[in-house]
Each structure stands twice: as C-alpha cells, then as structure tokens.
C-alpha cells in the first residue's frame, strides 16, 4: 500500500534529516566546550580530563555509537535526497534561476560534503588513534596505562598552518550549513509560529556563528602563540 508506514515518503525523509541534524548540532556545543579547553593555561589538564571522561564514561561510550549512526544516516539520507532532487529536473533552465532565496539553503549538499571530508580527516587523526587503528603521535600515562595524548596531538595539528586553514574553512562551511539547517529543521518538523519563527531564524544564525567562530579561534590562538 503506497501510504503505509514502510513507504519512506519525502516528508518522512525530511523529518528524519531534521531530527538527526538537530541532534548532531546539539553535540557540537559539547565538542566546542571541550575544544575551547585547549586554550586554558593549565598544560592540558582540563582538556585531558574531559577527553578521558568522554572516552571512558559508559553512557558516553554508548552515546558515541548513537552519534556515529546519526552522522551516517544524516549523510546517506542527504545524498539520497540530493540524488532524488536532481532527478526531479532532468533538463536545466537556459537562464539560471534568480528568485530571491536564502543563499546558503541552495548549497547544503556542498557545505555538507566539505564537513563530511573534514569529519573523515578528524577520524583519521583522533578516533583511529583512540581505537588503536593508527599509532598516536603522542601519549601520556594515566592510572598506570599509556593513553593517546589528544591535547598534544591536537595542538601539534592546529599549529600547522595548512591544517589550520583546512580547519577554519571546514568550520566556515559548517557555519553556513547550520545557518540554514537549524531553522530549516524546525520548519520540516512543522514547528512554525508567526511570533517564534523569526526568533528561531535569529537563533539559527547565532548558533552558526558561535560554532564557526568558536572552533576557528582555536587554531588562530595557537598560530599567534607560535
């Protein structure tokens, strides 16, 4: 039957994208808070403690797999939607569309791909070292065991100008992505209100700025510090 729950309708896909996206966005604030600890003048004590907590807390460890699944489904669904959308207009217009729309809403797949590539790089540098797939470039002793020293590893990477540029550009793309994504997520969930929707749009932009600027100042800080 065409309208059964099993049929994955366009709106179901959009609602799924929204729920997963908003969940991923909320995680960004946690990650940003931990990353900002890199700049604390305590020799990495706070950052290592936070990284240790994230790596050993049973709830967080389970949550980690939920997070990976959310990333995976959000990315795959995004690609499926993009492919479906391309098929919906097989012949392009000779004169490109000039309708007034939010600029970044048209480039979600492009900013999404940049974020995905950065995510892969991030995995190679940190997660693969955490699970022992690659050797950690720095280690430290904690409770009698050798642990990857994510503090030293992060600073070593962020001090490299090329990596810093890639890092900042990736978070710029993430900012552009979030600027449209947050308010779009609310719209897809049907959470639209004549009074609150303009506020949600402003919050969307503020959130995107906090994430993009918050992450980007870290490499700038270490580059200036030398």
């Amino acid at each position: 039957m065409s309208n059964s729950l099993l049929k994955y309708a366009s709106i179901t896909q959009k609602i799924s994208m929204s729920l997963l996206g908003l969940f991923l966005a909320s995680f960004l604030l946690v990650h940003l808070t931990i990353n900002l600890m890199l700049m604390l003048p305590d020799g990495g004590e706070s950052f290592r403690a936070a990284a240790e907590f994230m790596g050993t807390n049973p709830f967080i460890m389970v949550f980690e797999y939920v997070l990976f699944a959310a990333f995976f489904v959000h990315i795959v669904l995004g690609i499926i939607l993009w492919m479906q959308n391309n098929q919906a207009r097989p012949v392009a217009y000779a004169k490109a569309n000039v309708s007034e729309t939010s600029f970044f809403s048209k480039y979600m797949i492009h900013t999404g791909v940049i974020i995905m590539l950065f995510l892969f790089l991030h995995f190679v540098h940190f997660y693969f070292a955490k699970i022992g797939l690659v050797d950690a470039s720095a280690t430290y002793m904690f409770e009698g065991h050798e642990h990857p020293d994510f503090y030293t590893m992060a600073i070593e990477l962020l001090k490299q100008p090329l990596y810093a540029v890639i890092y900042i550009l990736s978070f710029l793309a993430l900012g552009f992505h979030l600027n449209h994504a947050i308010q779009s997520g609310f719209q897809s969930l049907g959470l639209e209100h004549s009074k609150y929707t303009p506020a949600i749009k402003s919050i969307s932009t503020i959130f995107a700025l906090i994430v993009a600027v918050g992450f980007s100042i870290i490499p700038v800080f270490f580059l200036i510090q030398g």
């Binding site: 729950l5 179901t12 939607l81 479906q84 000039v98 809403s105 049907g190």
Partner: protein, 252 residues
Amino acid sequence: MDLTLKIWRQANTKAKGKMVDYKVTGVSPDSSFFEMLDVLNQSIIEEGGDPVAFDHDCREGICGTCSLYINGRPHGPDSGITTCQLHMRKFKSGDTIYIEPWRAKAFPIIKDLIVNRGAYDEIIQAGGYISVNTGGVPDANAIPIPKVDSDTAMDAASCIGCGACVATCKNASAMLFVAAKVSQFAHLPQGKIEAKRRVQNMVATMDELGFGNCSNTYACEQECPKEISVSHIAKMNREFFAAKLCADVKDI
C-alpha cells in the same frame, strides 16, 4: 521597444528542443507580455512559420493557466502576479528576454512553452476534496468556524495551481501546492474528517509523480503569484507527522 527574445522551441514531448532567437520591434510598453507574444506569433504566421505555443486562458490572473519562465523567474520579473498580468514596461528597449517552459520531470513539455500539469490533477484526485452527501443545502451558519481559521483556509485556497512553485524550486518540489491544498481543508471542520488519509495519499502521490523534496529555500513563496506562505508547508508537515504517528489502521 525593440527586444531580442530567446524562446524554447520543441515540436512535441519526444522531440529535441532548443532556444531560438527572435527580434520584435515597436512593442508598446503598455502592452502585456502575452500581447507582445501575440504580435510575434502574428509575424511568424505571416512568414509561414509555426507560431510559438504557450498556455493562456483568462488573462486576468485568476485561472493559473499561464506558465512562462521569464529571465530566470516564473511569471517574470514582477512579484505576486501571473505572466498574463506582466507588462512590457517592466523591460527596457534593447533587452534580451529568455522565455522557457516550466522545467520538471513531472511536467513534461507538450509543445514549445506548454507543459502538461496533469500531475497536479492526480495529486488532487488523491485527496484534494471533501466527501459530501447529496441532499439539502446545510445552513451557512450551522458549523461555526473561527475567523482566523477561515481566513487561513481562504489564503491557502487562493492557490490557482499554476506550478510556479515547482518551476522555481531548485528541486522541482510541489510542496507549496500540496501544502496549500492540504492546509485549506485541515483548517476547516469539513476537511478534518478525511484529513489523515488526505495528507498521506496526496504526499504519496506527489512522491510517486517524481517531484523533488523540499529544501526550505522558500523560493516558492517568493514566486507564488498568490503569495501563499510556506507556513502551510509547516502545517502539512505537522499534519503528515501526526497522521503517520497517530492514524487509525483504517486511515492508513
């Protein structure tokens, strides 16, 4: 006004089309866009050629028949109007004007600038109606409806089904059209009886016909000649979500 027109010419659905250049001279700025095309067609006919086929009917902006994509915008450079309400004073002498048909997999070209919008009819057939028993006409005030609901339903019902939302959407999505039709009934007590079945069937049909997904770019709202709000899309999303989660077995 002297103009260069670049018009999509395509003999039939299966034929290969192309943009063809035409020159029109002495066009009055007070003439309508269609009158300018009428003049062009007259000259083509006099030269023994095949006139440019384009859709038009009422020429009063209410029937939703006209469907030209002009210089990158459905219904041309003005907002809140259909192509038939567009006047040549919106252009300058010497301009080059691109005139194309709506582009969407679900709207195949019949000839030149005419597309088959039968897909919209199929969506309406899937649920864009209310079932009413025959009999005596009920009293107009027998069913109380809040003013705000009747106004919102009327706003949604002003959709003329022209297809500009699909034409301008980067994904060729029909969400604004379907949302307007779902929302106009969902706001009224008469529409609530079949609401859950309606939204699921209409969305399913929209998907089956090959329209794209909504990316919330809101270009549809910008180009809708009746200025229908995207808040109706949010309303449809709510209706759909509720129907999927809470519908009785007989509703799905």
